[in-house]
C-alpha cells in the first residue's frame, strides 16, 4: 500500500504554512486519518504541509473562563493534560476513548475534527460543550461554533486555504457532572454510538443538560429534545429513561454492516441513559 507520490514541506512558521496552503497544498497533522486514506489512494494530495512541528499550534492553556487547545495537541496531550482533566474533564475522558495508545500519541484534535468522520469521538463532547473552533487563513481568522463547524460527513466549515488554529472549550462549573459513553466498533475503535453528557443541578433539580451524539447520523448533533425533557426534573430513573428515548428523535440514523439503523437507535437510547446516570452521579 504505497501512496501516490507527493511533495512534502515542514514549514518553520505558521505564515509559511498558510502561504503554501493558499496555493492548494494539503495540511498534514498526526496523519492518523489522512495517511490511511492516502495508502488506499482515496486521497492523493500533490503537496503535504506538515503542521506537527509548528510550536505555535501545539499548546493547551487556560485563559479566562475557557481552555484553549492548539490544533496539533495530540489526543494523548488532551487525555493527560492537567488543565483539561481539571477544567474540562469531559474532553479528557473522551480523548481516552479515541483509537488506541499509538493513535492517541500521533493524532491531533485539529486533524480529527477537520476530517470530521461521523463516527469520531471528539464531536460528541465538543457538541455537548458548545465549543468554538478558530479557523485561520493566510489573511483571515474567524471563530465558529461547532454546531456550524460540523456540516456533514467529512465536511466542515473550513474554506480552502484555512486551517484550524485552536479549539475553545468552556471551563466546567464546579458541580457539573459529565460522562462519555460509547459502543466501539471492535476492530477500528470508532464509535457505533457515542454519547457525551453534561448536567448541572441547582436546588435538587436539573438546571442544565447538554447531550452530544456521534456515530448515529451523518454528522454529530445535540439532542435538544432530550435536553429539554430533563430541565427542572430531579433525575429519577423514569425521567432519565424518558429523556434518553428522545435522543434519536427526528434523526436520519445511519445503517451499515456493523449496526442497522434500528439497532443504532436502540443503542443510542441505552447509552444516553447510561451517560446521563453516570453524569448525574458525578454532579454535586
Amino acid at each position: 500500500m504505497i501512496p501516490q507520490a507527493f511533495d512534502y514541506t515542514a514549514p518553520k512558521s505558521l505564515d509559511e504554512a498558510l502561504g503554501l496552503l493558499a496555493k492548494g497544498a494539503k495540511p498534514l497533522a498526526g496523519g492518523m486519518s489522512l495517511i490511511p486514506m492516502m495508502k488506499l489512494r482515496l486521497a492523493a494530495p500533490d503537496h503535504l504541509v506538515d503542521l506537527r512541528r509548528l510550536k505555535d499550534l501545539n499548546y493547551i492553556r487556560e485563559q479566562g473562563a475557557a481552555v484553549h487547545i492548539g490544533a496539533t495537541a495530540t489526543h494523548y496531550d488532551v487525555e493527560n493534560s492537567a488543565v483539561v482533566r481539571g477544567k474540562c474533564p469531559l474532553l479528557a475522558e473522551t480523548a481516552a476513548h479515541i483509537g488506541d495508545v499509538q493513535v492517541r500519541n500521533m493524532g491531533t484534535i485539529g486533524g480529527s475534527i477537520a476530517h470530521n468522520d461521523p463516527s469520531a469521538d471528539y464531536p460528541a463532547a465538543l457538541q455537548a460543550l458548545e465549543a468554538k473552533v478558530v479557523l485561520k487563513g493566510a489573511k483571515s481568522e474567524r471563530t465558529v461554533s461547532v454546531a456550524d463547524f460540523f456540516v456533514d460527513t467529512f465536511t466542515t466549515a473550513l474554506e480552502p486555504g484555512e486551517i484550524i488554529r485552536e479549539v475553545i472549550v468552556p471551563v466546567e462549573d464546579s458541580g457539573t457532572g459529565t460522562s462519555y459513553q460509547k459502543v466501539a466498533q471492535p476492530a477500528s475503535g470508532f464509535a457505533i454510538v457515542g454519547i457525551a453528557v453534561r448536567v448541572r443541578k441547582s436546588g435538587g433539580k436539573i438546571g442544565m443538560a447538554r447531550i452530544g451524539v456521534t456515530g448515529l447520523a451523518n454528522r454529530s448533533y445535540r439532542a435538544a429534545a432530550a435536553e429539554k425533557a430533563l430541565e427542572g426534573k430531579a433525575g429519577s430513573a423514569t425521567e432519565i429513561q424518558n429523556a434518553a428515548s428522545l435522543v434519536a428523535e427526528r434523526v436520519d440514523v445511519n445503517s451499515d454492516l456493523h449496526a442497522s439503523a434500528d439497532y443504532r437507535r436502540h443503542l443510542a437510547v441505552v447509552y444516553a441513559a447510561r451517560a446521563l446516570m453516570a453524569a448525574l452521579a458525578r454532579s454535586a
Binding site: 504505497i2 512534502y8 496523519g31 495508545v101 499509538q102 500519541n105
Partner: protein
C-alpha cells in the same frame, strides 16, 4: 528529500521519497526487520516503534516525518547482550507464541511501564488495545507486563 534520523542510538542519513513509509524505511533502507508489517492499516500494532519516546505505528507515518527524531525499534532495547526487562518478562512468562506480534507488543508494553510503573490489569489491557495477537495469547502478554512492573519495583 534528505533525512537524518537517530535510530537505536546511531545516526542515519538517507535521501528518501516523501511517500516512503517509516516501516519500509526501517526494514528496507536501514535493515532493521524487527518491526513487522502485519495489517498495514494501523490496526495490528506489529510495526510499533518509539518516536521521541512515544509508541507509534510506523506503517502510518512517512519517514520524512521522522526527520531529526529519535527512533527506538525492538533491536534497540537490549544492551550489552542483556535483554530489556520487558523482553526478559515476555520470555519468562511465555508472552510470545508465533512471535509475529511480539516486537510491537514489547514496544507497546514498554510504553505502559514507562508512563505508569505500577499499572492495573485494566490499564495494561487499555495500553495494549492497539496491538493484536492472532495466536490470542493475550493472558500471557498481560502477565508479562505485570511481571516486568513487579521486577522493576523490586
Amino acid at each position: 528529500m534528505n533525512i537524518t534520523t537517530h535510530i537505536n542510538g546511531k545516526s542515519y542519513s538517507h535521501d528518501v521519497e516523501p511517500r516512503l513509509l517509516l516501516i519500509h524505511y526501517l526494514r528496507e533502507v536501514v535493515g532493521l526487520t524487527g518491526p513487522h508489517i502485519g495489517c498495514e492499516t494501523s490496526l495490528c500494532g506489529a510495526c510499533t516503534v518509539e518516536l521521541n519516546g512515544k509508541a507509534v505505528k510506523s506503517c502510518t507515518m512517512f519517514a520524512v516525518q521522522a526527520d531529526g527524531a529519535n527512533v527506538v525499534t525492538i533491536e534497540g532495547l537490549a544492551s550489552n547482550g542483556k535483554l530489556h526487562a520487558m523482553q526478559e518478562a515476555f520470555w519468562n512468562e511465555h508472552g510470545a507464541q508465533c512471535g509475529f506480534c511480539t516486537p510491537g507488543m514489547i514496544m507497546a508494553s514498554k510504553q505502559i511501564i514507562d508512563r505508569n510503573p505500577n499499572p492495573t490489569e485494566e490499564e495494561i489491557r487499555h495500553g495494549l488495545e492497539g496491538n493484536i495477537c492472532r495466536c490470542t495469547g493475550y493472558q500471557h502478554i498481560v502477565n508479562a507486563v505485570k511481571a516486568a512492573a513487579k521486577a522493576a519495583g523490586v
